[in-house]
């Protein structure tokens, strides 16, 4: 990123960190966690200890990072190299990202940006119309549908966590990720000591990965209706029953069909159930017990929006509530073929023009790589 852009973004970030420190806190057990941050155009600084809110404030004001992270793990010695930290446990974390949901709306808000000349287009073409280059990067801008579909995944996740896994509502924190999805953090003593492999199997449970017909009463031969799941059952068997039978009156007919169709057909049905009912989380994030994860309250440099906790998920509007940078107008050169909505205002499309935008919108364009400071 060029220097001018960095100056503009950093001044906006600094203003936010200075004014809104009420929103930025270290998580519980802060002294046992590893912190890290990044600055624009430079690498990650890791293995830091940030003892309290005051230290965090100092760090933010002094460094003005592009992104700030904190481990979900607790260590005896968080500032030592990984092998000497002495891992003690970790919160369960989940990352739900709209880009992983295979939504049909994605193509409507994805911009193809030429790597050589930055020319953005909405339609994909093999070659850049301006310079002939064949290399593009994709930039996705905010989309209501992506957010509401991601919320559905969060709801599914919270539902299974609370009913099947006995996690209490008050142990679950839901955050907007600051870009296109949600982060969920579970602080429950029973699960914090689980290692990576255990977490991988837990994720498979949530995603409904690896389910075999036998577990739902269908063997390769000699099947009886008695072993199929019923509505009254808990966990996946109960959910699968609802999906297979939809209503009580349909049970006898559906049961005959399932038994007649046999093993492979049932396997296909389970695959379908996985697609609709499995929670779509990023398994790599949950499995990683040494990760540093975006710190709540900090700004996501992919968008200039903040990672903030959602008190009421249903009504939560990230493009209003997580858009927390200043309102002062600044002039920027913007090349954005799509219209975007922030704080209930519409911006663009702009065709490589200098426009005066409120700081939050200007920074959004710069962070997305669709504009430049002038």
């Amino acid at each position: 990123m060029n220097e001018k852009n960095i100056l503009l973004i950093e001044s906006a970030f600094k203003e936010y960190y200075f004014n809104r420190f009420d929103l930025i806190h270290v998580p519980q057990k802060a002294t046992e966690r590893e912190f890290g941050y990044q600055k624009f155009n430079s690498g990650m600084t890791r293995h830091l200890v940030v003892k309290n809110d005051k230290d965090l404030h100092l760090l933010l004001m002094k460094e003005v990072p592009s992104d700030v992270y904190c481990s979900n793990a607790y260590y005896s010695f968080p500032s030592l190299p990984m092998s000497e930290k002495d891992w003690k446990g970790a919160d369960l974390i989940f990352d739900i990202d709209a880009k992983d949901l295979a939504l049909s709306c994605r193509k409507d808000h994805t911009v193809f940006k030429c790597i050589s000349c930055n020319n953005p287009t909405i339609e994909f073409s093999q070659q850049c119309s301006k310079c002939g280059s064949t290399k593009f990067e994709t930039v996705s801008v905010g989309c209501k549908n992506c957010i509401s579909e991601s919320k559905k995944e969060v709801t599914k996740l919270v539902d299974i966590l609370t009913t099947d896994l006995n996690v209490k509502k008050e142990q679950i924190e839901v955050y907007f990720s600051g870009n296109e999805g949600f982060h969920v953090r579970v602080t429950n003593n029973d699960y914090e000591s689980l290692g990576s492999q255990e977490r991988a199997d837990l994720v498979d449970y949530l995603m409904f990965n690896g389910a075999i017909p036998e577990s739902f009463g269908i063997k390769r031969q000699n099947n009886f209706k008695a072993s199929l799941p019923t509505f009254e059952e808990k966990g996946w068997r109960g959910r699968v029953a609802h999906k297979l039978f939809s209503s009580k009156s349909k049970v006898p007919k559906a049961t005959r069909e399932i038994i007649a169709s046999g093993y492979s057909a049932f396997q296909v049905q389970l695959e379908e159930i996985k697609k609709t009912m499995g929670v779509k989380v990023d398994p790599k994030v949950t499995m990683d017990i040494h990760r540093i994860f975006r710190l709540e309250g900090s700004i996501n440099s992919k968008s200039g929006l903040s990672k903030i906790q959602c008190e009421d998920l249903n009504s939560f509007d990230p493009f209003l509530e997580a858009c927390l940078l200043g309102n002062d107008d600044v002039n920027v050169m913007v090349n954005c073929p799509l219209q975007i909505r922030l704080k209930n205002k519409k911006f663009g499309p702009y065709n490589n023009e200098i426009v005066s935008l409120p700081k939050y919108a200007a920074v959004y364009m710069l962070c997305k790589g669709l504009g430049n400071a002038v």
Binding site: L165, V167, D204, G210, S215, K234
Partner: protein
Amino acid sequence: MLKIGVKDLAKYPFLTEAGEYLRNTGLSLEQLGHPDWQPIVEKAYGRIVVASSGQIYGSDLEALDNDSELLSFLVAIILLKSAGIATLIRRFSLAESRRAERYLQQDLWISRDKKNLELPLKIIQDLFAVNVSIDNEDFVIKVPDYLQRAVHFHEKEWKLVNRRVANGLVYLSAHETVRLIRTELGEYINGKIQSVNVDSIPQSFRHRVDDLVTLAKKFSDTVYVSSEYPPCVKHGIEVLEKGENLPHSGRFLLATYLLSKGQTVDQIAPLFKNAPDYNERTTKYQLEHISGSSGSGTKYQCPSCEKLRSESLCFATPDCDGIINPVQFGKRRKNP
């Protein structure tokens, strides 16, 4: 306070209470050296021989003297420690854990009334810190306790998604509950044996200790494990060594791989001895079938890396770079 009788100790002689029981009888190691006690030494020796052959020592708890069941276990440990051969100790721990496993399962399953159920649940709780409780016909344990153990199993049925789960609990049968703690039981018994110190032994034990040393020589070269094996094959061998169940696809990999390296059916068969469902005749029959020396005469090839990946049997390391079948492992490494 839970009362543990001598019959329980005969079933679970590795419990701390067994040592206390012995102390209370006032019987010393010196006394056990007396010719009157020679039958116990013989019984102990027999127990080790059975274990070393991969069989499970069976006790008739109704007909036999429970004291001698318990004593023979303790004497066996003394013999093993004096012989000091790790392979024998490992095989013995494994076989004894299988034996205890049978009783645990029986005790869980048959004695459904609360009174009798206390002991097996206490053993599981005390030894492995797993709290098992009962819900109607099922045994239930917490999801994290389940995951920490079940992730070491390779069969899909052990994945949490294939279990009945509700309110943070996993529902298991008696058999599954015991299966879940198998490895820990073996390790516990092994640890117990390791922690025993034997200074001097009665002269009457000497002879059998020497026999154990001779016996161990027979085993030292049966299973040839080479560091040149690819990680998937090493992993399979480790699983079997630990007495864990290796799925059929894994056994097929081991058999085809080792056959391709020129090992014979007789050389390979002992590898499967620790498998929970080992049967010598069936194993030989299957190996001969795979090797093409029986049945259709087709010699089966080692499965490809891709196939193994799809079966979760691939544990690739950087040394695997550039190979598409485990039999190629090591051949390309010496390139400049």
